[in-house]
């Protein structure tokens, strides 16, 4: 029996698909912003903080990096209600994704901070800058420039990982795909289309980050 591929049923739902793409993009952007901030704070704490703070951040990083994202998501969405905190799918998704990115961003940015030569910091201090000012102007920007490729690669991974929130029925692109599947029974076609959309998003994102990188880190 020859299987007949039918993509028309899938294309008919293009507006539904578009809404899924919008949610995926929104989730990615929000996670990237929040997760980067946590990453910068975590990295600073890890490098400059007192021992107890360093251990705490280290614990956080190791726990997140050695457990799967889907399990973290389940803990936030299914588990927290028993501790009294009931969350909707989207907020839970955001929180889990942000906490997850925060751990990876902490490690990446920390590597960047440690790569800034000690001599630079000493120069900053001898010019009279305070500790925080040294961090902001002499350390953080060069550190971000150094790790920009690694960091943006992680951001692309975040975009791809948002597909996992479909498992708690957050209305992202992958969740849309499974709904369309149940409506049209075009299993292969819908997932092939969605896969292609993710690939396109990944390519666009990589170009966008490269362009931003050129603009932000241009020689001044």
């Amino acid at each position: 029996m020859r299987y007949v591929f039918n993509f028309r049923d899938v294309w008919a739902q293009w507006d539904f698909i578009a809404s899924g793409v919008a949610v995926t993009i929104a989730l990615t952007i929000a996670t990237v912003i929040a997760g980067s901030m946590i990453g910068a704070l975590g990295a600073a704490a890890r490098v400059y903080g007192p021992p107890w703070m360093r251990s705490l951040v280290a614990c956080y990083v190791e726990c997140i990096r050695n457990t799967p994202l889907i399990v973290q998501l389940f803990i936030v969405f299914f588990g927290l209600p028993s501790a009294g905190l009931r969350l909707d799918a989207m907020p839970a998704a955001m929180i889990a994704l942000t906490i997850n990115l925060g751990a990876y961003a902490t490690e990446i940015i920390r590597a960047g901070i440690e790569a800034v030569p000690r001599a630079q910091i000493e120069a900053g201090r001898s010019l009279g800058l305070s500790g925080v000012q040294v961090f902001r102007h002499v350390v953080l920007m060069p550190a971000l420039r150094i790790v920009y490729p690694a960091l943006t690669a992680q951001f692309v991974l975040v975009m791809l990982a948002t597909s996992i929130v479909s498992q708690i029925s957050a209305p992202d692109l992958f969740h849309v795909a499974s709904i369309i599947q149940s409506r049209t029974f075009r299993d292969f076609e819908i997932y092939a289309v969605v896969a292609a959309i993710y690939l396109a998003l990944a390519v666009v994102l990589k170009f966008a980050f490269a362009a931003i990188g050129h603009l932000a880190f241009a020689r001044r």
């Binding site: 299987y3 190791e62 726990c63 990096r65 050695n66 457990t67 799967p68 994202l69 889907i70 399990v71 973290q72 389940f74 803990i75 299914f78 588990g79 927290l80 209600p81 028993s82 501790a83 791809l160 990982a161 597909s163 996992i164 479909s166 498992q167 992958f174 795909a177 299993d187 292969f188 997932y191 092939a192 969605v194 896969a195 993710y198 690939l199 990944a202 390519v203």
Partner: protein, 217 residues
């Protein structure tokens, strides 16, 4: 009928973890094979091979693992013509996915060997394959061990997604246990702890290996 979560459940979760490790092992073997081919293609002197493997890596890495699982799960039995069980398809998805990532890692290690080593081999009349086998790969393997072990950790975590297509490994067992006991917080914390117990030692080992390597240079 909801029952209490107790040590029996922990035991069953640990048993399910065996399937996590089994799936990881198979994916690593399959992916290792694919990865070796991809890495060698990437450094070969033939531009079409290089292009093909670059394309392969970028396409595989640009699509979420969940999507690959579903595409293979639903698509491969149809496209192959012959009957393929969904599980075989899912394992094929993991092998392809791991193959792309391992191929990238190993490609980096091969390219880290200085061009002069290739030239010295060529000047001694060795063919491309002989240069690769006798000179480049032995040196690249040493560099490749830490990131490969690091990737093993990724793979263990990635097997959690097999739960979504019904494969009963640790995460799925967690979902089933949760359905029986209605204690999601406890259940999933235990699941996370078991993953941690599997991954953390490997993470530490990978770090130690990398330190030894850096000192040895």
């Amino acid at each position: 009928m909801i029952r209490e979560f107790n040590l029996i459940d922990v035991y069953y979760l640990l048993l399910a973890a065996r399937w996590t490790l089994a799936l990881t092992g198979i994916a690593f073997l399959g992916g290792g094979l694919v990865g070796m081919i991809v890495a060698v293609m990437r450094v070969s002197p033939f531009a079409p091979l290089r292009l093909a493997s670059t394309l392969f890596v970028n396409v595989v890495q640009g699509i979420p693992l969940l999507a690959w699982l579903f595409v293979f799960f639903f698509g491969l039995p149809i496209l192959a013509g012959v009957r393929i069980s969904p599980w075989t398809a899912a394992i094929a998805a993991y092998a392809i996915y791991a193959g792309a990532f391992l191929g990238e890692i190993w490609r980096g290690c091969l390219q880290a060997i200085p061009r002069q080593q290739w030239e010295a081999g060529a000047a001694l009349a060795l063919s491309f394959g002989e240069q690769l086998y006798y000179i480049i790969v032995p040196q690249a393997i040493r560099i490749a061990v830490p990131p490969t072990v690091g990737f093993l950790v990724q793979l263990i975590k990635n097997t959690s997604l097999a739960a979504v297509i019904g494969f009963v490994e640790l995460t799925r067992e967690g979902q089933l246990t949760n359905a029986a006991t209605y204690q999601p917080f406890t259940v999933y914390i235990v699941v996370a702890a078991i993953y941690f117990a599997m991954c953390f030692p490997l993470t530490q080992w990978s770090r130690r290996l990398e330190r030894t390597l850096r000192v040895a240079r």
